[in-house]
């Protein structure tokens, strides 16, 4: 086990190295710079040139790469070793002049509740519904669920959110946009309910499509397992149907979903750009989205790197979890 993890970690390091080169090249060599679009008419070309020089924008790309990752790991080291208070941040964003990594952490904390609640809603909705749908195949509820799932999958996600937001805010006069009601100071339980409401609505809305997809998947998985011989054997030896379905069929059917947990970590990045835009959440997705278009390459490259690292970690964790949950899987 230990040697397996060690080997995987080494592989991860190699992959990350290649990823770091690829992502840096794509971002750093794309045209334009953060200062080209500044609208201040008093800024002359020479001023902009000076700004570019101050952050080393015109340096050769190899030097830029080394400088960037040097600063990145020095900052990351400070965070990991809890020396953030006395650390002088080296990697700062161009436009806002904020340290990149602490800001990323802050933004991640904003996005986290949204992603967590969304995932929770998706999984708690789709598992029972999918299993039910598989067990009552071709019944009226199953058909209704299938039609609903297909329709939800086909809806442009942002449109259905806009319709719901429009209904809630205009007809029911309920504020749902942004992480908390703006302009009102709340405390105690009222703050709690306000915050809960503001998380719950976007989470439910943004989980609709995901829940529909996962329901179909769970149903398919369950049906596949139920078509296998050992279930027929279990039925034939007279086990009652609850034992067959929930003890013998559900466990193997749910195993593939363990691998899906790998997607949870990186979904912090990018999983929620659209919904953060609709619900005005100042989260990670929007931050990077805006950085891309203001050519703030430090933010973009850092996010690509951290996102890739999280993906790899997620895959590793889910592989280990799968080997724990499924005795047939051997780590090698």
């Amino acid at each position: 086990m230990a040697s397996y993890i060690l080997r995987r970690l080494l592989q991860m390091g190699l992959t990350l190295f290649v990823v770091s080169i690829l992502s840096f090249l794509i971002v750093a060599l794309s045209p334009g710079d953060p200062y080209a679009s500044q609208l201040d008419p008093k800024k002359t070309d020479a001023d902009k040139e000076r700004q570019r020089d101050s952050v080393g924008y015109d340096d050769p790309v190899v030097q830029k790469y080394l400088n960037f990752y040097g600063d990145f790991f020095s900052d990351l080291g400070a965070i990991v070793t809890f020396r953030a208070d006395e650390h002088e941040w080296k990697l700062n964003s161009f436009t806002a002049k904020e340290p990149v990594l602490p800001t990323m952490w802050r933004k991640m904390l904003v996005t986290l509740p949204l992603v967590l609640v969304t995932t929770l809603v998706v999984w708690t909705l789709s598992f029972p519904i999918g299993v039910y749908s598989a067990l009552r195949r071709n019944s009226l509820p199953d058909r209704a669920i299938t039609v609903l799932a297909y329709t939800l999958i086909a809806f442009p996600g942002f449109w259905i959110s806009l319709l719901i937001v429009s209904f809630l805010t205009n007809t029911l006069k309920i504020p749902v946009v942004s992480p908390e009601t703006l302009g009102v100071e709340l405390s105690g339980p009222r703050w709690f309910f306000d915050a809960t409401w503001h998380v719950a609505v976007p989470a439910i809305v943004s989980s609709l499509t995901g829940a529909a997809v996962l329901t179909r998947y769970v149903k398919g998985q369950m049906l596949e397992v139920m078509g296998q011989d050992f279930i027929r054997t279990a039925k034939a030896k007279g086990l009652d149907s609850d034992t067959v379905y929930y003890k013998h069929a559900l466990r193997p059917a749910s195993l593939p979903f363990v691998t899906m947990l790998a997607g949870l970590l990186p979904s912090l990045f990018g999983g929620s750009v659209v919904f953060e835009a609709i619900f005005a959440w100042p989260g990670l997705g929007r931050w990077v989205f805006e950085a891309v278009f203001s050519r703030d390459i430090f933010i973009v490259v850092s996010s690509l790197f951290v996102g890739s690292a999280l993906t790899l970690i997620g895959i590793l964790i889910s592989d280990i979890m799968l080997s724990v949950a499924d005795p047939r899987v051997r780590l090698s």
């Binding site: 040139e49 806009l162 890739s308």
Partner: protein, 796 residues
Amino acid sequence: MSNGTRKPTSPLADALRIFFRNRPAVVAAVMILLLALSAVTGSFMTGKKPDAPDLIRLEEAELVGDKVKLGVNPDAKLDPETTNLKDTFLPPGSVSKDKPEKSYYLGTDHLGRDVLARLWAGSTISLSIGFLAVGISVLLGISLGGIAGYFGRSRVGLPVLGTLLLALAGGILFAAEFHVLAYLAFGATALLFLFQAGIAITGGRWRSVAAWGVLTLLFLLMLAYNGSVESSTPEGRPIAHASEVHENAYDLLLTLRDFGDEVKQLELEGGAELTKDGKPTEQPDWRWQGQTGIEIKTRSVNWLLTRFQLEMQYRDFEMRQRLGVEQQERSDHLAGFEADYRARFDEATAQAQELRKQQAAASDRDTARKLADEAAAAEARATTFNPDTLKQRVEDMKKEGAENERAGKLLVETLAEPVEKYRAALDAAQEAILELLDRDSAGPDKSWDTLLALQKIEADAKIAQAAWNLAVKEAQIAAAPAPEGKEAEATPKPTAEAEKKALEAAETARKELEDTKPEDLKVGAVKPLVLQSSNELVDRRGKVRKGLVDRYDGETKTRRTALYGAELLNGESRYSTYKVTRHFLAYLVMIVLVLSAGLVVLAAGQTAAQEQSGFNKLYLPTISVDDLVMRFTEIMMTIPVIFLILAVLAMFEKDVYITMGVIGLTSWMGTTRFVRAEILSLREQDFIQAARSLGVSDFRIIWRHLVPNAISPVLVSASIGVAGAVLAESTLSFLGIGAGPDQNTWGKILSEGREFINDAAWLTWIPGIAILITVLAFNLLGEGLREAFNPKLRGR
């Protein structure tokens, strides 16, 4: 058949039978056929122009200081004929207010455009981009997955891999402006190419030879393309020329910097002898060795920069004329809107008055407040569409345009002759200065002569410069509009007196030089510095020298930025594009081609035979093709796709085909993985083994046996992929990065309609439902195909 046995059926017929029994899938297939029909017919059928342009584009060209700024799409022409602003926001089923025979079955949008026409025209783009993205991703997925699956066990030696990696490294080094290293890498690549080809020829493996030939051809093509990028831009030649000037200047600067240290050393040694008893001493000849060279180089750079400034200056005059013409064209288009503006203004004013009346008469407070709000909105609309403001704007723009055109034209014409003269003078001076450099290296005795000659050349160039400045000033005075009324008295008349005096001074200075002898320069050459002690002097001169170098360096860098910014002036590119990037982009395109071709080559000919004959005796490391492809796939899967897409998109103009192409390029990994798995399991099966033992060629096995068996899951995922791509397009349009300004997609119509979601619900519902139906149809078709090809799933 007649003896009662069951007719044997082919698997395809079976699949079709199952498919046609699946009612939703059949309905979906019919739906898709209809959609395809509408996509093909596009906008021909509706007879109305689907996409009359936005008003926003009027605001595109402006003069900031003396620089021209052009908008995103300067060529976009307004067509007031097709836009009738009276028909804005008509609900579905309405009839045109102007022409009763014209009806809008699906209503009109905020710019009065027919929604049905837009939707119909949009279906062309929306569907074709879906197929584009899926086509790219499926093509990449099948070829990479197929290579990994079928040829996966072949091992690739270091030389083959090295060739490809070197080609890639060369491109990156070239982009990073390490030109020498880049050319070394290219050379090594070429050598390796030849080496490989030689081995293939001696081994008699002609298929390999052909493959390497194709690869070499591609590589040469890439180099040629790379070289042609620079001169292929619309304004390529002047930029190429200016670029050359810049390169020369930059080279000189680098030399100059090296000389800086030498000078400092020289001065430290000789500083003590600069003064004697507080009086300047006669300077010995040796002090000017080397230093003369530096003087010459500094001046040379200076004049190169002047030459470059001239090009920039003259270009601004030309741009001004062009801007004038465009401004006038735009004002004409704008004027075409007057009737519409007036109609809307009248309507809004009348409406506002009516509402105010109602408000005054309203009994309860809520109604009154509501009416007041509506009235205020109507008043605001009236202000927006006030025809007088429009008229004023049209007049102003026209006047400004005419003025700019006239002045620009006059300046360009008047200065055409002087600019040629000045250019010639500067070029001559440059040449003469560089000739001096050769003379200086001839020996120390000549350095005083050289210095004098340099001063004479410079004095000539200064006369030409003063003459040019005078010509410009005079032309500017002639071109300036005559001030009117009070202004004329308040502002003094501009004169060219200062320039005239400068010209005279330059001529006098030149004449004085005629009488100067080289020996005269020896005394007092360091006159201003005499009052300081020698140590201070040395220190300060060193600083001055360094400052000089830094300044020129900085200036050249600024110029370089300006040079590439010049493209911005032409409105050619939205972002300022560095040469580096353009090279790199050109290179990227070709490298993808070369790498994929390379993989095919590896797979095709370089495999088993090589293990026996070639490199393995050298115990060089090898990597299996499977590893190569799958590690690359994993790396691509690791990077968060959405930001990768965003980062790539930020490089290009907004264009939905590029967007979807990028999506295709970043979404092939899933297909690759399952195609590989499919092929891996197929190639072990008996019928493939049988075919192989019969001596059937790889090509025939692939096309006759593997592809038909592996294609069904690809078809299924492609069908579902098209649905995903249509959805992705709408999401990207919502984020504002989907369709370009002239492109009309369903996602764009939908996201444009969201502003009016409360007032004109049909603007979102109609495109939304169109997307919904399309996505649903493709998903159902995919499910139907899955079921038809995979009988085990039947009945789910």
